[in-house]
Amino acid sequence: MTKSIYEIENEITDEFSFFADWQDKYEYIIELGKKLKDFPEDKRTAENMVKGCQSSVWLVTERLNGSIVFKADSDSTIVKGLIALLIRVLSGKSSDEIVNAKLEFIDKIGLRQHLAQTRANGLAAMIKQMKMYAIGYKTKEQLN
C-alpha cells in the first residue's frame, strides 16, 4: 500500500529532526533537489512556468491510474529541493488528497518561518499551482 500524505509528511518531519542546524537542513534539501528526475526539456515553456518573485519554477502534471503525477524544476538549487519535498508528498496522490493536503510538515520542520518569504522563493505559488491542477482534474472527473 502506498503511504498517505500524512504519513509522508511525518516521515519528512522525522528526517529533519536529525539536523542540528539550518545549514544541514539546506544541504539535505539541496541533495533531494539534485535527485529530482530530469525535467523534459520541451516542457520548459512559459506556459508551464510558476512565477515567484526571485525564482522560476516549471511544473507539469500527468494523470496516472486515478492519481496525479508532478514533474518540476527550478533555476534555484534550494527551490528545486523544496519542489522535491512537495513532489514526494503530493505526487501520485488522488486529486482529493491533494486538494485537502494541509502540508503541515512545512511548519513543523521550521520551513515556513524560515521561508516566510514564500513570495520571494515561489513556494506559495507552487503549492497553489499544484492544488489548482488537482482541482482541475477533480472537476473534470465529476463532469465525466
Binding site: L115, R119, A120
Partner: protein, 413 residues
Amino acid sequence: METALVKKIFDVDQVRKDFPILSREVNGKPLVYFDNAATSQKPLSVINALDNYYKTCNSNIHRGVYLISAEASEAYDKAKDKVKEFIGAKDSSEIIFTRGTTEAINLAAYSYGRQSVTEGDEVIISTMEHHSNIVPWQVLCDEKKAKLKIIPITDSGEIIMDEYKKMLNEKVKLVSICHISNSIGTINPVKEIIKLAHEKNIPILVDGAQAVHHTKVDVQSLDADFYAFSAHKMYGPMGIGVLYGKAELLEQMPPYQTGGDMISSVSFEKTDYNEIPMKFEAGTPNVEGAIGLTEAIDYINSIGRDQIHEHEKEILEYATEEIEQIESVKIIGTARNKTGSLSFIVEGLSALDIGIMLDTFGVAVRTGHHCTEPLMRRFKIPGTVRASFAMYNTKEEIDVFTSALRKSINILK
C-alpha cells in the same frame, strides 16, 4: 475576539491606566484631553509595539530572504488580516494601507474617479463633509467638467434623505459621505444611504475616520464600495490609514502612486503592475505603522466596541446635559443619533478665546471650523468649540470641563 455572550465590564479607571499621557499635567492641572476627533491618545501596548518592532525585527519586507525581513513581512500581512476582520471585509487583498483618510480619499478620487467620471457627470457629497472629503472631489469635478452636488442638512445637522433621493440619477457616478461627522457628531444612516445609491447602481465611498473606533463597522453588511479611515484617530500611530475597496472595483482601477512594491516588472518600454492590494502601495510599506495599527485593533477588541460605544454615549449625553445649563451656550448639531463630538458656541464670545481659557484649566478642546468650513457656513458661524471624546474620558473630566467653561466665560465677559 469579542464575544457576544459574556458581557464585559467596562472599567474606565482601568482603561485610563493603559494611556501614559493621561497622567500628564498641563499648567499644573491634570490634562483633560477632549480633542480626540483630531487625534486620539495611544495605549501603552501600541507604543510598546513600535518600540519592540524597531528593537527586534525592523526591516524592509516582501523581497528580503532573511529572517528578520520574514518576521516583518509576516507582521505586515497579519495587519492586513487584522484590519480585514476589524471592518468585516471579505478578503485582505481589499485592504490598502495609505497614510491616512485624506490619502485614501485622494487615491479613490484619482484612480476610481478619473476612470469613471466624465463631462456632465455628477458626484454627491453632503454639507457636513471634512475638507478631505470635499476638495479631492472638487478637483476631480473641475478637471472632468463634472458637477459636485451637495446634500443639504437640517438645522439639527442631519442629512435630508428626501433631498438625497431626488439627487440620485443616472448622471451620478459616485456618492461620498462621512459615516460620522467630526464636527457635530451626527451618525449618518449610511446603510440606508448606500442602499438608495445602489438601487441606481451608484457606488459609495464612506469616510469612516470618525466611525471605526466609536461603533462597530461591517463593510460587507453596509455594502460599502469604499471605506476610508486613519489609524491615529483610533488609538494607533500616525502615518498610516486604510482604504478598503471591493476587490472587483480595485482590480479594475489604475494605480495611483508608482514605484517600489506596486510593480511586478519594469522595463523602459513597459511596466506591469502587481496584484491588489500591492498595486496601490508604492514605495517602502510603513511596517511600523501596520504593527501599531494591529495593536490598536487588538486593544479596541480587548475592551469591546459595544462597551466603548455605550460608555462614550453616556459621556456625550452627560456633557450635553451639563453644558446646556450654562447661559449663552448653544449646541451646534443636535441630531438624534450622535457620538464622539460635542460642538457649541458661546454667544458673544469667540471660540478661540474659550479654547485658550480652557487650556489654562488643563482642558484641551479644539476651536475653529474643524476642517468643515461649508458646514460652519450652513450654521452661519465662523467656528465652534468642540469637545470630542474617547473611551478613556470620564464624567469627572466633564465636570472639570463644565466648571472651567463657566469660569472661562466669566473671565472673558
